[in-house]
Amino acid sequence: MITPGSKYFFGLTGLSLISAILYMVLVNPSDLGAVALFGLAASGALIGAMALFTRDGDVYTDEEAVAVNAAAGSPSFWPIVFALGAALVLTGLATVPVVFVLGIAVLIAGGVEWTIQNWADGASSDREFNEFARTRAISAIEYPGLAAVGLGVIAFFFSRVVLAVSKEAGPIIFIVVAAVILVVGVLIATKPFMKGAVTVVVAVLAVAVLATAGTFAALSGERHELTVAAEADHYDASHRECGAEASDHYDHLANNTVSLRSAVTATIFVKDGKVYAEAIGMTKKVDTITIPRSNATSVMFRNLDEEQHRLVVNLGSAKVATTGVVEKVGTCTQLTGKNQEQVMTLKIPKPATATEPYSFTVPGATGEIKLVVP
């Protein structure tokens, strides 16, 4: 089964593998030389496999008299696909990497199909048999490949359309598309006139509409709010506003419950406008919470007050490296409503100094809990 041609290439693979390993052991494992030798081995293996696969390009037949390529010459559009791939690769080089990758994919697909087609054409003098050989060799990748391309095309174009329209229109378009698919299905299934040519027309039309809409949408870009959201980065820590009032982004639809209870070192309560705290293992209420330096430690904030509150931790002040301005350091939870809770995880790398002690406060409530970092 191993053809003579492939033997040479496999031999080359083996040799270069051995020399690569020797090179790695004796000379330098991370050197370019090793990479080159491995590359040689890989290409040897690849060409060897191709040689094996195409029987060194030979035709075996019982009828020795029949000309080798008696059945050859079936028309093929794979060269065109191959050329298209090459064009895309060149375009991609000049423009965007996506096109380049796409081009490579098309190039490989066209190349493989072309090779297999040629190989099958030379398999025997019987065209029917040659087609059988071609399918056996290639259909295992054609089916899933085409299916994957189909999925990709629909998902890509459809998502471009929904990304381009407004947030409210998205679900409507989605439901319309789904309904159309369903209705067309039902029509074809139940109405006798929806047969043959009509279905093809419907399918072609649907693909055309989707592709056109999708291309337009992709070119026009995503809807404005998304671009703004991406640029503004609403949820960046720098947007945190820790006052008593609700902030624009940070408190928008604030998160009101958490499931971190097993991991909090202390719980800070606000009740009737007053702040107090309990710590794990301590039987009495505490006015100081000690947490280890540089250790991610969670503190729970539970609001037992009628009004909304947030927990703020004050960590002294520091010079901002970029501007040189001294600013207050600290962070806060979102506003939480009555009987609701949030967790704040702190990792404080510097111990508190006497001049600016750390503390927890709740804007709009009295009292503070001291925070000690030894």
Binding site: T135, S139, Y143, P144, L146, A147, A148, G150, L151, I154, A155, F156, F157, F158, S159, V162, L163, K167, G170, P171, F174, I175, V177, A178, I181, L182, V184, G185, I188, A189, E222, L226, T227, A229, A230, D233, H234, Y235, D236, A237, H252, L253, A254, N255, N256, T257, V258, S259, L260, Q334, V343, T345
Partner: protein, 204 residues
Amino acid sequence: MADIATHDTDHATDHGHHSSTGLSNNKLAMWLFLGSECLLFGGLISTYMLYRGRVQNGPHSSQIYDIPFTSVSSFVLLMSSLTMVLAVSSAQRKDDAKTNLWLVITALLGATFIGGQVYEFTTFYREGLGFTTSLFGSSFYALTGFHGVHVSVGVIMLLSLMGIIKKGKITGDKAEVVELIGLYWHFVDIVWIIIFTLVYLIPS
């Protein structure tokens, strides 16, 4: 990966063998696989449930979820279950044309669902929720992404199956193959039924 493998139908040993339970080997294997998948998705859902409220950076779930859109997504996937079951019953009636039709419709609905997920992930990402942003982000994308991969594998199987039926290259009992893929598809749907409720509708 395991999906594909377990789908494969080895009929050989049906030959010349009785079957002790009178049931098909393939269906038994498929149901076992689905039973096993329950623990896979259970693990991912539990991870999400544990981590859903843990946000140090970036948005919380309630700040970015687009319930109307996801509702439509869920509806579409649910309807694809209907078309799938219609494909199965057509296959059992040996009606190749209708089987293929419903397979394609199911695949189309599945593909738009995936399109919807691409849309959803893109908007979330634009609004500041990346895979590495927070525990919520990691566990959300891991869970829904795993589900999305399952749907995608399903769509590829449906479309390929359609092609294979058309070319008459199916190995084994056609109706049963359609039914097996149907079981997988419905399973993906019921996982989404759970995800839709536990992840989207119940706030963290």
